[in-house]
């Protein structure tokens, strides 16, 4: 057997294993996706894979999405479906709430952490090491420990159940990791750049806005994705600090509520789950291009 042939076999094996893993990983998701297009009765009656036997017979439609997004209109057939106790499952408001919570809860910690990381990395001040060690040490503190004391304070301050409250909570929980990540990146930027900017007459603030922020985009983007996904998928913090008020309820809470009310309505739950997945995907692909390596290329040589 020639070496080339052996090489080919090896590659086939690797690809085979990769395809297998990918298939195992994807199957449940595909199942959920298919279910989200099927009528509720069918979902209960037969498995989602039966659809592939004869797709024309499968009654696939966007009805589930219309119901969960509240865009039924005056389609009598759909309204009839809702009649069976399925009012008030409009996810639309919950999506808006989730966005209202997530965007500031992502932006605020990034801003604070970038300033802090620059300070820790490049400004001399007494106690710098101690403070930094303190921040890093907070990484290992589980947030559950802080829930009750903070909730007590929030109730005293009247912040419980408000968006401001949950922004601050997510900011606090996200900061240690953010500071740590950004510190690692910012402290690795070449010293010469700062010295050069100082000599050219830049202040710390100018250096921060004109040099640090643009050069740190890859780090900022990766943390933004982490934080966005974490806040978007968070249920615990939202339950504790927002409470069960439908006015401010976020997507995860609403989905949970659907499960509780209609434990058997898998067709609606799956549709809701896919609606909630759209935004993280948009964010991920939107920021992905900042991961391009070599943003620093041409800055310093050697």
């Amino acid at each position: 057997m020639s070496a080339r042939r052996q090489n080919l076999l090896g590659r086939l094996f690797v690809y085979g294993v990769l395809i297998l893993i990918a298939a195992i990983w994807t199957t449940p998701t595909v199942g959920l996706l298919v279910s989200s297009f099927r009528p509720g009765d069918d979902v209960v009656a037969s498995g989602w894979w039966t659809v592939f036997r004869d797709p024309t017979e499968a009654n696939l439609s966007l009805d589930n999405y219309r119901i969960v997004l509240g865009t039924v209109g005056d389609n009598p057939q759909l309204q009839e479906k809702i009649q069976r106790g399925q009012e008030n499952i409009n996810l639309f408001g919950a999506v808006l709430n989730s966005i209202t919570v997530t965007v500031p809860a992502t932006v605020i910690p990034i801003l604070i952490a970038a300033f802090a990381a620059y300070g820790f990395a490049w400004i001399q001040f007494p106690g710098r090491r101690i403070f930094f060690i303190g921040v890093v040490a907070l990484l290992v503190v589980p947030l559950q420990i802080a829930l009750i004391p903070i909730l007590k304070d929030y109730i005293a301050l009247d912040l419980s159940g408000t968006f401001l409250g949950i922004w601050l909570a997510h900011t606090g929980f996200g900061l240690p990791l953010a500071v740590y990540l950004l510190y690692n990146y910012i402290s690795s930027l070449p010293r010469d750049l700062f010295e050069s900017a100082f000599i050219d007459g830049a202040s710390h603030f100018t250096i921060f806005t004109r040099l640090i922020l643009p050069l740190s985009l890859p780090a900022l983007a990766s943390f933004a994705i982490f934080q966005f996904l974490w806040v978007w998928n968070d249920l615990l913090v939202a339950l504790v600090f927002l409470g069960a008020n439908p006015q401010v309820e976020v997507l995860t809470q609403r989905l949970l509520g659907m499960l509780g009310t209609f434990g058997t309505d898998w067709h609606l739950l799956t549709a809701g789950a896919f609606v909630s997945m759209v935004f993280p995907l948009v964010v991920f692909f939107g920021l992905q291009r900042y991961f391009v390596r070599g943003l620093l290329a041409g800055s310093v040589k050697g």
Binding site: P190, D192, L193, E195, S196, A197, F198, I199, D200, G201, A202, T206, L211, P214, L215, G294, L295, L296, A297, G298, S299, V300, K301, G302
Partner: protein, 357 residues
Amino acid sequence: MKVELENLTKRWGDVVGADSINLEIQDGEFVAFLGPSGCGKTTTLLMVAGIYKPTEGFIRFDERIVNQMAPKDRNVGMVFQSYALYPHMTVFQNIGYPLKLKKVPKEEMQKRVQRVADMMGIGHLLDRKPAQLSGGQQQRVALGRALVKEPQLLLFDEPLSNLDARLRLSMRSEIKRLQMELGITSIYVTHDQVEAMTMADRIAVMKDGRLQAYAPPEELYDQPRTLFVAGFVGNPPMNFMEVEVDRENGDYHARREGFDVVVPPDRGEKAAGRGKVILGIRPEDVTLADEGVSGEIYVVEPLGRDDLIDVRIGDAHVHILADPTLRLKIGDNVKLKFNTHKVQFFDPATEDSLLWT
């Protein structure tokens, strides 16, 4: 602008970066700080730039003490070894950045950047990003950025060490020409003694944070004040051997095993009667001759124009330059003639010159 350093010292705890540096730089002068890495030359430069605050001593610009002055108020331009260009800005923005920070009006900025860029020969590259430039072009951008604010003092931190050998030669002469034309007082940090010798009006040789010598290149070469300076300046480096100098019949003899040369009285007398002293002589001051000190060739290194030959005299080694057409081989016996008007003598304990102190 005249620059004066007085007892300039920088310490970080027990680590001494620069130790009581005293020197003055005349207006328009080109001074090189020369020394091996870690000798404190960059530390001193950064103190002049205002990045580091001196622990002790003073920096004066035209008689004015500037120790506490912020870097931006010192009106200095600096070129870094790594160039330190802003990677996300175009060449135009890079060069114009100091002006932008000074809030120079747009039109004037446009004009000045264009003029500097044309002077540096990169006027056609203004829209490019640094990553799209070659090393030499990046270096010119860095130089342009330092020049655009019309500084009174130019600082160079090993600006040529990242360039390839050919480009280094051409940039070397270009920087020197530019400095002479503009007449800006300049400090040039380098570990390359050829760069320092060719470019500078005066060279400050540093070692372990201390100033070893501060003199014009020729003086540094012909009248080294310490053993370190003698060995560091010049390529190939000076030969050293331990000898004893005695007066005999009115002549001064420098002797060691298998070695006996007569040195001129003005030099011999300063080294005589001190027991063992170190004799130093440059390779070009030793020539092959029909008679003289005999030795055996130990190594032959062809350099192209010359052969560098290591000759063993007893247990001492002397490097000399010889004509390659002589086709000398390892093991050949040769006779060496020493140009004794150029010998140096050093005290082995203090390593100071016995001739020039």
